[in-house]
Amino acid sequence: MKNNFFLILTTIIFSLIFYVFYKSLQNPNIYKPNIETGKKIPNFEAKIFGTDTIISSDEIFKNNKYYLVNIWASWCAPCRVEHPLLMELTSQEDLEIIGINYKDNILNAKKFLKELNNPYNIIISDKNGILGIEWGAYGVPETFLIYNNRIIKKIIGPLNESFIIEINELIK
């Protein structure tokens, strides 16, 4: 009798544990880094892609416009995926797209742009990845929407349709 009681009890307890584990599988809590928005953009100076001209952040973000800063590289597969969406955004007149070419081989990068077209108004080169650190990037690709020298939206990973809609909404 006692034996049966324990059998039933343990079965119930373990079934409960199973249920809880099963439920928590449905919503795995992946760590999402705190996205800092509203932060001022970092001040920097960098070379314009493919040249030796140095440009400062003040010169880049001087206009009263929206800016989309996109960190990309030719070796980055998701960048290839999001590229057509960036091309789509070039039709937006109130938006300037700034590319940060991240730790890339310049020839490969040029080939990449030739193949998929160039959506960027300005590309600056970040050969050693320091700029990426200053922007607080987690990886490539990463995109920042900037207005009035402040980051108003940060997208980690490749862009997708819903982000494009969101960006278009914000710019209106």
Binding site: F14, V20, F21, S24, Y31, P42, W75, K103
Partner: protein, 625 residues
């Protein structure tokens, strides 16, 4: 090519499982020796897994990016050593390692158990094959390490830099030997229970396996802890992180099991304890794998977040749990009451007390680990359980526990008394004086700390005396218990005496306090194979004029792009000087954290001593008192 061979080997290995199960069942009721086919196929299965594992290593070494696992976790600029260790630094590869160890151990078990009854050997093999079969399906269906991708990428995505570390390179294999070693104990206990073969001889044989997995588990935890100490840069060695807890829980269960099996071997009592603990050890190991891999708990160990994988392990785990319940409730005969009479003052009783303490610690850790998961499911409230919870619940119970460890081994089997034990009182007084002396110089809670340190010193003296007086009788126990006392003592003193300074410094600046001066002299840049390094030069001048130079480092890895902070630690027997620096965004300042950690090295040494105790016991042929 290597991937292709590996991939087919894996399928052949699965085929072997089917054949082994078939021949074992056929052979089960026949008399005579174990069918040699069974052993051959077991060997063949091991062989296929080895081939498959080497196939994966080769793919990593050659940076064969047509293999998805290699693409996701390797990079051409990664040093060769980390290409190899990257093999098990990811979900797919580490499961292949699980399989390798599972098959290796069952093969060794078959070789080493020739004297034992045939039915018991076959049944153990069958239970083990159930586990192996499950893992095969899991690997092939959901986490195949040999998935092919096309078009072939030219470059891989890289291994997480904080995992690129020597201690961490060998940490998983060692820990797995411990985890998976417990699978043999699990299978063997189920077999022995089914056949009602729980005897003194059985206890003697299985003790070897318990010791093997216990030693590896201890060392595995130690390596992980050392890694956390210098890589994570917080200056601690144990954070009560869920992932640490899931390795601690099987360790607690296994340690308790080790003590129970000694009693069983001597007196044939506590059989229920042994069965339940054996089952618990393995299921806790599996549960750890599940919690960590499924992404329910998040940490550096969470490799992939694929709910399908989590679901598979979950269902498999609970199948094993319910299978073991079935065996336990329907086959286990409750032991004869006459033999389980305990006299209050005897070795058996003290081991029983030890068991209950261990179970208490185990449940504290278990609740602390899984309660947040339960709460989130039931009330969708997120909480995190931190060190204060564990400290509050564990420390008060540590005091009687330490006294029990000191006194327990002094008692005799069956019945004992306190004659010739006057020295214990002397030790107690000495410890009390020592700890009052230590505690009164610090602004800490007097009563609790005095008693705690007294009990730690008391255990220390008693075990030290044992080590000297008893010499070679019961050496393994003396060494392990002495190691444990040293561990507790070092942790306590380390906690009390640690100091910390956190400050922001520019290059060339100096921080000054009453006791020391920290001078940030220079910063050097260097390009390494797969990262950029920034090395700071700090000279620390202490009050008595001694200068120590420390060089903490920041590494900016290229693939994936992550910054890691490498602490610089100067270790000697008395204290560790520990410094880390971090970038402050958009500033010339660096965040500097300087810590002194007394007796750190003794924590590592004591854990090594504990595992040495296990090793001595493993190598000894004769039974110890």
């Amino acid at each position: 090519m290597a991937s292709l061979i590996g991939s087919y080997s894996l399928i052949f290995g699965l085929g072997c499982s089917v054949l082994i199960i078939f021949f074992s069942v056929k052979d089960f009721n026949k008399s005579g020796n174990l069918n040699s086919k069974v052993i051959s196929f077991t060997f063949l299965q091991l062989f296929f897994i080895v081939v498959s594992f080497f196939g994966l290593i080769l793919s990593f070494v050659n940076s064969d990016f047509s293999n998805e696992t290699v693409f996701n976790h390797s990079h051409t600029t990664k040093p060769l050593f980390y290409k190899i260790t990257g093999t098990w630094g990811n979900h797919e590869g580490s499961l292949l390692l699980w399989l390798l160890v599972l098959t290796l151990f069952i093969f060794l078990f078959l070789l080493s158990s020739k004297k034992e009854p045939k039915k018991y050997r076959i049944l153990t093999l069958l239970f083990q094959q159930v586990i192996i079969f499950g893992f095969f399906i899991f690997v092939i269906k959901t986490s195949n390490p040999f998935s092919y991708i096309f078009p072939i990428p030219t470059e891989g995505l890289g291994l997480n830099p904080i995992l690129q570390d020597p201690a961490l390179a060998i940490h998983p294999p060692i820990l797995y030997l411990g985890y998976v070693g417990s699978s043999i104990i699990f299978s063997s206990v189920l077999a022995a229970t089914t056949l009602n073969y729980i005897t003194k001889q059985w206890a003697k044989d299985i003790k070897k396996w318990i010791l093997v997995s216990w030693i590896f588990l201890t060392l595995g935890i130690l390596l992980g802890s050392i890694w956390a100490y210098y890589e994570l840069g917080w200056g601690g060695f144990w954070f009560w992180d869920p992932v640490e807890n899931v390795s601690l829980m099987p360790w607690l269960a296994l340690t308790t099991l080790l003590h129970c099996i000694l009693v069983l071997e001597k007196r044939l009592i506590l059989t229920s304890w042994v069965i339940i603990l054996s089952i618990a050890t393995f299921t806790l190991s599996m549960c750890g794998t599940f919690l960590v891999r499924s992404g329910i708990l998040n940490s550096v160990h969470t490799f992939a977040n694929d709910p399908e994988r989590g679901l598979f392990i979950l269902i498999f785990l609970f199948c094993l749990i319910f299978l073991s319940f079935f065996v336990f409730f329907f086959f286990h005969k409750i032991e004869n009451r006459n033999t389980s009479n305990f006299f209050w003052l005897s070795k058996e009783t003290s081991i029983l007390i030890n068991n209950w303490f261990m179970m208490y610690f185990l449940s504290v850790v278990l609740i602390g680990t899984i309660y947040p998961i339960f709460l989130e499911v039931i009330s969708s409230e997120k909480i995190s359980v931190g060190p204060p919870f564990y400290n509050k619940l564990i420390i008060p119970f540590l005091i009687p526990f330490l006294f029990a460890i000191a006194i327990g081994p002094k008692l005799n089997w069956i019945k004992s008394d306190f004659k010739n034990k006057k020295y214990l009182l002397l030790f107690l007084i000495v410890s009390l004086i020592l700890s009052i002396f230590i505690v009164k110089n610090f602004k800490i809670d007097f009563l609790l700390n005095t008693i705690l340190i007294t009990s730690a010193f008391f255990l220390f003296f008693v075990t030290l005396r044992d080590l000297i007086v008893r010499q070679f009788t019961n050496l393994s126990q003396s060494v392990a218990h002495f190691g444990f006392s040293l561990l507790i003592l070092s942790i306590l003193l380390n906690n009390i005496f640690s100091t910390e300074i956190i400050t922001n410094l520019k290059i060339g600046e100096t921080f000054q306090s009453e006791k020391l001066k920290i001078n940030f002299e220079s910063l050097e840049h260097a390009d390494k194979q797969n990262y950029k390094s920034l090395v700071g030069k700090f000279s620390i001048e202490s009050f008595d004029g001694k200068v120590v130079v420390l060089n903490p480092e920041l590494r900016i890895y290229n693939q994936p792009n992550i910054i890691t902070s490498e602490a610089d630690i100067k270790t000697n027997l008395l204290t560790d000087k520990f410094i880390t620096m971090n970038i402050v965004h958009n500033q010339d300042y660096f965040n500097i954290r300087y810590q002194t950690k007394p007796y750190m090295v003794w924590i590592w040494i004591s854990v090594l001593l504990i595992s040495c105790g296990g090793l001595i016991s493993f190598l000894r042929k004769k039974y110890e008192k």
